[in-house]
Amino acid sequence: MISIACPHCQKRYRLDDKFAGKKAKCKGCGQVMSIKASPTADSTATLPSQDPLAANGPPAQNQPHTTPDDAAAVPPAETAAPITETTSTATPVSAVEPLAAGVPPAQGAATDNNFASVGSPGGQPGGAPHQPNREQASRGEASQILRGTTNHLQYEISQRPDFSIVKVEIPQGRKLYAEPSAMVSMTPSMHLEAGFKGGIGKTFGRLLGGESLIINTFTAQDGPGEVMFAGGAAGDVAYHRLEGNSLYLQRGAYMFNSEGVEVSGKWQGAKGFFSGEGLVLLKASGTGDIFFNSYGAIVPIDVTDGFIVDTGYVVAFEESLQYRVTVLPGLRTAGKIKSFFFGGEGLVCQFAGTGRVWVQTRQVKSFLSWAHNYRPAKSN
């Protein structure tokens, strides 16, 4: 016998086990509720995926393969838990495998299955996975979906590489901290709270880092929750695992992070602050997961000796790297300079040491100057 309470009106029921995993309408308030497989004791407090993780050893470290074995994830009806995939990597580049050609139909199906809302294993109306779309067959399907599971969350990055969106699932009681306006959609079990996280100091620091003062807290209050995040520009999303170390993020790159990670603005003195586009950085430290986005594709590069990147193209880099913002004279356009604070022309970031840099394949400045020609002109 299953003993449950309606989450909306708390009316209690005792039901036969055969109703496990199904849905019913509460006779008290008329709302739909799912009947969990086990009695009230909350089995969703920890991610069911803990087990595969424990078997694999230390959490979510770089296993350089993404598995497109979506077929294994089907069918949703049999498991009461969200679909779990093998861990994925923080290196989109190394994970790129040329299987897109053969995979699309299955991928299409699996994608849709993965949208099974958490906690509703009973299937959905019109559950048959969208055959008509397969009939129309799409060639040149998006690059494969990046999936992963960590201590804190499960994520899935899709619509890559140009319009990447991240779907994150967290168990009840857990939180996510995100950049404002990053949320695309979420289940009603998630509660959103805006806040000046980290106190005034860190908050002000973030202001200088070009990110908003506010960091939003998403809490899965009423049950396990799911949120989707996306950036504003066309580009990709990358995932990085912090293990007590830190990551520096360029302005605008920060999206969201799990618990255990602190994000603050790094005031590296007026030097970087004023060098035009320069380097205005956010610092993320702690132990946990962080996601950041880019304008353009993301290329992770492992630096061993030295490396130079135009400042507009830097997305993020590990703290183990030393960096210096300098001018590369040949890059500066000669001639009239309209304002005394030029927009970062000819500035490069010189990295030294060992660590990883994430570089993006487009930069804002170029887009703006290109677009500027098409803006309506103000008449004097």
Partner: protein, 218 residues
């Protein structure tokens, strides 16, 4: 008629092959290229008045093109912005589309313009919406990648990210959080959708792009 969507999700386009006697109806601007054996007839989209209304409020052009061929031919259809295209097969049911999303449909599909209601206006989905019904396939697109979701109970979508939805979907505009949180979170208002039914969402929004661009200008 064979139709395939290529180069998803960033620069999606539809490659159509028509046999003699087959017909496809498309937005006036959608045609990128076509074989010389294809004939094109332009007409008001749903009639004169409807056409004008669709233009003014629906973001669609006043005209649609009917493509047919006496001997067989190919057409490539696109949209104005980078993004994804989806195909949907209607079987007597109805679907509501964001203005400007419509690209093409088979001749058995009826296109109409509907009043979306103030709710949708606040939700930044426009005052009007396109209503498609009948039997046949319809192709629509959006800025960003398009993905669908079956809604059973309730779901929350950021304003500006909803591309299409069934009439069975209930829509309410709500605050993202408490009063303080809604304003300061940067999310403002959100759309609460309730099922049963299906919604199509886009992974980017023009508002988001504008905000991002603006944040780098001064």
């Amino acid at each position: 008629m064979q139709a395939e969507i290529h180069d998803r999700p960033s620069f999606a386009n539809i490659r159509v092959h028509l046999e003699p006697g087959e017909e496809i109806v498309a937005e006036a601007d959608a045609m990128a290229s076509m074989s010389s054996s294809i004939e094109m007839k332009t007409q008001w989209s749903g009639g004169f008045v409807n056409g004008i209304l669709k233009r003014l409020f629906g973001g669609e052009s006043m005209f649609v093109n009917r493509f047919s061929t006496p001997s067989g031919g190919d057409i490539v259809l696109t949209q104005a912005f980078p993004g994804d295209i989806q195909c949907l097969e209607l079987n007597g049911n109805t679907m509501f589309l964001q203005p400007g999303a419509f690209i093409a449909c088979e001749s058995g599909v009826k296109l109409g313009l509907g009043w979306a209601g103030l709710r949708m206006f606040i939700a930044r989905e426009g005052l009007f919406r396109l209503k498609v019904s009948g039997k046949g396939r319809i192709w629509f697109g959006a800025y960003g990648g398009i993905f669908q979701r079956e809604i059973d109970s309730e779901y929350i979508v950021d304003t500006g990210h909803l591309v299409a939805y069934e009439p069975t979907i209930g829509i309410r505009v709500a605050m993202a959080g408490g009063l303080f949180s809604s304003f300061f979170s940067g999310e403002g208002l959100v759309t609460r959708v309730s099922g049963p039914g299906r919604i199509y969402m886009q992974s980017r929004s023009f508002d988001g792009l504008a905000a991002w661009t603006n944040s780098h200008l001064y």
